[in-house]
């Protein structure tokens, strides 16, 4: 007896997306984070010898990348196993093998990890065909965006203060923009409100 033969239960839900989309989003974000660190490691590798070894420095071998991709697949397959926090720590450890310094990659990586953690926490334990109302996603997206802005602002300040690697122009611009946005966000709302007519 397959599920196709059974009657479906109709629920009057608001506009929604399938939970599978969020599971895939979490997995893709994790996989991209792994590839980004791997690519960074490959670029920064010393004495790269061949594609497999060249995937990273001695600390970040190709097997780590494969393991990370498998962990990302695991997040998609079984979100409820809480592999995402483990993968986030793993990506952080792997980042130690790359050259230091805050660049746009750091922000992208931070964003990917945050999306992975949030998405997997939201749909953990839900079946593939479960529905997630967009009204549920909206506050999550808002708070994730706010946290990312705060991270970018903090990163921009840290990048300026970090004397080991001078920040490039793009990051300066990004940091400046983030600081402006964060400043506007932190301003009292009464200052931004127009005069009552």
């Amino acid at each position: 007896m397959s599920a196709r033969d059974l009657a479906s239960i109709e629920l009057d839900l608001r506009p929604s997306v399938p939970a599978a989309a969020l599971r895939v989003t979490a997995g893709v974000a994790g996989g991209l984070a792994v590839l980004l660190v791997g690519f960074q490691g490959w670029r920064d590798a010393v004495n790269a010898d061949g594609l497999w070894d060249g995937f990273g420095s001695p600390q970040l071998t190709g097997w780590s990348v494969v393991l990370g991709i498998l962990a990302s697949a695991w997040i998609v397959w079984r979100t409820q196993d809480h592999v995402a926090p483990l993968l986030a720590v793993g990506v952080g450890v792997a980042s130690l093998a790359t050259a230091g310094g805050i660049s746009w990659r750091t922000f992208v990586l931070a964003g990917l990890l945050l999306v992975m953690l949030r998405a997997s926490a939201l749909v953990g334990g839900l079946p593939w065909d479960a529905r997630v109302e967009i009204d549920v996603l909206r506050p999550v997206l808002r708070s994730t965006g706010a946290v990312l802005l705060a991270v970018i602002a903090a990163g921009a300040v840290a990048g300026f203060l970090d004397g080991t690697n001078p920040p490039d122009f793009g990051m300066k611009l990004l940091g400046f923009g983030a600081v402006v946005v964060a400043g506007v966000w932190l301003l009292p709302k009464s200052w931004l409100r127009g005069k009552d007519r």
Binding site: D5, L11, S95, R131, V136, P139, G155
Partner: protein
């Protein structure tokens, strides 16, 4: 009519909120990354942990609070039942301190649905769930599992459950042609013409006025023509009307599906398939609907449960009562052999709904036929599926089928009219290469449905209305 079921009891209970595992692990990962970055002197690594830590700090301030309550409301028809084609329930979720709620609505025979639903600004939400059921009769409705999640996803409440309420699903009635009439009609009123003198029917004859005739029956035209001097008066005499009593006899001892491997009861019948009792209920509901629509009286008897007969009656309320009785029948215990067939109103049309898997129902049908009732035996066994049977099971089914066929043939020979409610599709013969070019032979047709069969049976009695009345 509505049933209210509180998922958590009458008084709102205190709900315990606890941090969610995903939140705790995410925050721990952030702290670990932050610590790693600080210890290694790597601001880029520390920044990776800043996001989860900031998010956790933001979420921790907005944990869930307050009670969580889910109430079920079921809208029932006026007879306290629900049509099987649409089973529905409403759930009122009240969780003022929650951000959203995880729901899982499940039911035996339906695909489980899970969803993350948002709450309205007042922290409540009403959801309507509906489905259809292949089965009819008493059955559980939805089971709702719920888990309230705090506004930022940092905390979760205790999981709760609203257990399934048992409802009675009414069988869906089919539109049928006029039913066959019994051999003898009863009474002086009704919807059918009889051969008794009386009122309401067609003209019988014109007769001389006799003591006892009503004055309003005097036909003045005939009187003026035949007796211009008014020595004699002539009256018009009509035929009376009559009604028929239909007794629907349900054999609820068997409730078997199309797969013979499930007949032992060890393997459940697939929930998307009709069982013999579902078919019998649908047939009985359709027949009763038609009987009441044509103004006749219908009664219900259950071969397995002699304590709950429904006496003959007509009208909408009687039909509701009939459908309720019908929908609440279920197999009760082992089959009980009876020496004598249950007594029925004289001259009633008996419609027996049975699988005829054992000789008991055939025995009572033959007894009723010998007593002079017109008996129609309707076979309610669903078309059998033998694909998954073992060789021994297939042999057993074959033996049972042979016995059943003999039983039905014997009934036919006694004058009991038989047909199957559900058509068994006839296998088309495979086309071989030798058939190419050969003249096409007549392919055996699929047996006609109940509508055609009833029309065929009805032609006999409708062609001779009131046959035998008054004798």
């Amino acid at each position: 009519m509505s049933l209210n079921g509180a998922g958590q009891g009458a008084a709102p209970p205190t709900t315990t909120w606890r941090p969610s595992t995903a939140f705790v692990l995410g925050a721990a990962a952030g702290v670990a990354l932050l610590g790693l970055g600080v210890l290694a002197g790597r601001p880029d690594v520390a920044l990776l942990g800043a996001g989860p830590v900031l998010g956790a700090a933001w979420s921790a301030r907005r944990g869930g609070t307050g009670p969580v309550e889910v109430r079920e409301e079921i809208e029932l028809d006026k007879n306290g039942a629900m049509p099987a084609r649409r089973l529905a329930a409403s759930y009122r979720i009240e969780a003022p301190g929650a951000g959203h709620v995880r729901l899982r609505v499940s039911r035996f025979g339906s695909v489980t649905v899970s969803a993350l639903v948002a709450l309205d600004e007042d922290g409540s939400r009403t959801l309507h769930a509906s489905t259809s059921s292949a089965r009819n009769g008493a059955q559980p409705l939805f089971t709702l599992d719920h888990l309230a999640v705090g506004p930022a996803g940092s905390t979760v409440a205790e999981p709760g459950r609203v257990d399934a309420t048992r409802i009675v699903a009414l069988p869906q009635a089919r539109r049928l042609p006029p039913l066959p009439l019994p051999f003898r009609l009863r009474g002086l009123t009704g919807a059918h013409a009889s051969r008794r003198p009386g009122d309401g029917g067609d003209l019988r004859d014109v007769h001389l006025f006799q003591p006892g005739d009503r004055l309003k029956r005097i036909d003045w035209r005939v009187t003026a023509r035949r007796s211009p001097q008014l020595e004699e008066l002539y009256v018009r005499r009509d035929f009376a009307l009559a009604d028929s009593v239909v007794v629907i006899v349900l054999d609820s001892r068997d409730d078997v599906g199309p797969d013979a491997a499930t007949w032992s009861g060890a393997v459940p019948v697939r929930p998307d398939e009709h069982t013999s009792l579902d078919i019998a209920r649908e047939a009985a509901a359709s027949l009763a609907n038609q009987v009441v629509a044509s103004g006749d009286r219908v009664a219900l008897r259950d071969l397995a449960d002699a304590r709950r007969p429904l006496d003959p009656g007509t009208g909408r309320r009687h039909l509701d009562r009939f459908l309720w009785h019908l929908a609440t029948t279920s197999p009760r215990g082992a089959a009980r052999d009876t020496v004598r067939a249950p007594q029925l109103p004289s001259g009633a049309l008996v419609i027996l709904l049975s699988t005829f898997l054992d000789p008991q129902s055939a025995l009572v049908a033959s007894q009723w036929r010998r007593q002079g009732h017109r008996v129609i035996a309707i076979d309610t066994l669903p078309p059998l599926r033998s694909g998954s049977l073992t060789a021994r099971e297939r042999l057993a089914v074959r033996l049972v089928t042979i016995e059943r066929t003999d039983r039905l043939a014997e009934l036919e020979s006694l004058g009991v009219e038989t047909f199957a409610w559900v058509r068994t599709p006839v296998k088309q013969p495979r086309k071989t290469s030798a058939d190419d070019g050969a003249p096409r032979t007549a392919v055996p047709e699929t047996p006609a449905g109940p509508e055609v069969q009833l029309l065929r049976l009805g032609y006999r009695s409708h062609g001779q209305p009131g046959k035998g009345v008054g004798r």
